[in-house]
Amino acid sequence: MIVEIGHFALVLAFALSLVLSVAPLVGARMGDARLMGLAEPAALSILALVALSFAALTVAYVQSDFSVANVWENSHSAKPMLYKITGVWGNHEGSMLLWVLILAAFAALVALFGGNLPATLRANVLAVQGMIAAAFLLFVLASSNPFERINPPPIEGQDLNPILQDIGLAIHPPLLYLGYVGFSICFSFAVAALIEGRIDAAWARWVRPWTLAAWAALTGGIAMGSYWAYYELGWGGYWFWDPVENASFLPWLSGTALLHSAIVMEKRSALKIWTVLLAILTFSLSLLGTFLVRSGVLTSVHAFATDPTRGIFILMILIAFIGGSLALFALRASSLTAGGVFHPISREGGLVLNNLFLTTAAATVLVGTLWPLIVESVSGEKISVGAPFFNMTFGPLILPLLLAVPFGPLLAWKRGDLYAASQRLFVAFGLSLAIALATFFIVDRVSVLAALGIAVAFWLVFGALTDLALKAGIGKVSPSVALRRFIGLPRSVFGTSLAHAGLGLTTLGIVAVSALEVERMAVMHPGDAMEVAGYELRFDGMFPFEGPNFTEEQGRFTYLDRSGRERGEIVSSKRFYPARQMPTTEAGIASRGFSQLYVALGDRAPDGGIVVRAWWKPQVLFIWIGCVVMMLGGAISLLDRRLRVGAPAARRARPARPFVEPAE
């Protein structure tokens, strides 16, 4: 019964989303306040209904109701409760339901907190949001219904894919979807602006917090996915340039560009058309990612052709929204007036450079991801585009951007002084160079390239700190005044610095692991030891262990430092999940500072020993710490007074600055 209520709520939500996509739009056209007024209750009701539907599915999972096909396919009565709940979105149907839930939640947020938006803009934004919701609700109902029953109900479920039975599934997809779907709001704002043919700085002030929130969530989601892959897949890789990863990385790249161009639009009223286009592109890439992942087109064009219903459905959604919004853009973009003028060497100029490199990087990753599909559909030949291609192209593209980052915040609006900015960055430059030299001479077998990479990482961190120090006036005013000024700095300044420093930390982790990683491999018997980067790894033996829904063979290791002192134990295991008849490996990881000792078990050797692979991953944790710092930067920037709800209205009262000023 609960399941049917969930299904019914979803149908009702679909009907309401149709109302939401039409009524406010018509109302805004005709200036009918009553029709526009429908948007708010409709958006809130859709959220309530989708939430009810999601709750119903969750109840079915918690109760292990195997008469529901989706639960039977993806759950097991012996599964721990956490995985019963996370299993709701650990499958295609449930994850699409989560997608729609988050979409509905964003629409409801606009309805709730959009009180100070112009009435027609709000109506149009909600209408566009309603259209997206309608399309995806129809997709769920028509081709991915999670509420289908089976008769007779099986006694036991088929269990969730063991590799998904991890805390990662609780955090990674929801965060990732918050990011993906969060960009839908930017998209809706962009389309609404195009429908109205009017766009101003207030628009940017409204779009920026949504972009920031979505971007921060997506950053966290990608980082979480990366760490999950790192510890779960068993050979210590953190980024594989897999098409599915690229699908989430693409909106991140263009979202980062959007974040920066929206600043220019808000502060200087320039780059309007470009910002609108980026908002459309970013969500389009989110949709494309959903399509690539959901349609099966990635494995092969032919895999797509064998079961095309879902794929074609999403393809239609894709064409309708991307094509429709781009057509609207082509029609209306000229009605948006160009804004402030600036010199190429200026804050705006820096942000434009950022956009150039980020969009080029995004386009490169996009083409690389789609290239095998294109070649196969044109000539029928199968080719591969993998990590070596992306490392070779993405690296050189992103390096100039990393080098330029510290200059950006130090340049003045309209017309900056590159020479003065370089002078101010002199200390940061010297320090990073010194650290590079120190690594080169002290840490052995560091190549010049790695030392330079480390210099770039520290350049980013020190550059970000320099910006804060300069803005606080450290060294120019007395320490107490500087401290007061430091505390009084706008939150967005801290946000910028943290995000840029986080980027530096992530770079540091990536460079250190790529250049300094140590790998060892051996067949080990109990009592054997092997040396890994100065640590001695002693194999104590294999021990059986019984989990709630798996059996496990644990390989226990003790690691000792150079002086022969025991430092701790590492347990690396091979699991077997009887429900799915599937083995998994659980890597054993010990953290030493920010570095990790990573141990994975391989096959049994014929002589009774076991193949052990061990890695020393220096400073690896910085990869994800950097992402968390970036996320934190986004969150702190969100807390900026300017961006808080209600603040835009107060600021709009100020006399408008003249937008066009001579650059000379």
């Binding site: 080029t360 591969s384 994975a600 096959d603 066009v660 001579p662």
Partner: protein, 152 residues
């Protein structure tokens, strides 16, 4: 859903599970040759996997290919010769980094084309903006004065 789908696809292909990728008994005795073999392995795709190099995969076919690469290296082949040999047997599909050929020109050229076109566009529009904002010509200034004078 990055990891989930990665994993699901691998599982569908029956290659997940124990990651006893490269086994110690496969390795070449000469560390220099072995290092070359590892580097080449990272560039070759495991044919039955989703986006995994033969170095990362524990599939039977990946193992065969690893052994093949080492055989060729031990036989004295250069890196290019090994790659050509593998491609001649398995086709371009094994290359994780597509060849520099005319067909892949757009793939490899994309970053450069975009940077050049985008950069040129930016420089041109910056020029245009500057001329547009350069102020009034003498004649325009005189006209403006005249208009302002009359309206006063």
């Amino acid at each position: 859903m990055i990891v989930r789908w990665l994993v699901v696809i691998w599982l569908a292909l029956g290659v997940a599970g124990a990651h006893a990728v490269l086994a110690p008994n496969e390795m070449l005795d000469d560390p220099a040759l072995e290092a070359r073999a590892r580097a080449l392995s990272a560039e070759l795709r495991c044919m039955v996997c989703q986006n995994q190099s033969i170095d990362d995969s524990d599939a039977e076919l990946a193992r065969d290919l690893r052994v093949l690469v080492r055989e060729r290296i031990a036989a004295g082949d250069s890196d290019d010769e090994v790659m050509n040999y593998v491609v001649s047997r398995y086709g371009e599909f094994v290359l994780l980094r597509p060849a520099f050929t005319m067909r892949n020109a757009l793939l490899w050229g994309m970053p450069v084309i975009l940077l050049v076109v985008g950069g040129a566009f930016l420089i041109l529009s910056a020029r245009r903006r500057r001329t547009a904002a350069a102020g009034l010509s003498d004649e325009e200034a005189r006209k403006l004065d005249a208009i302002l004078g009359r309206s006063d």
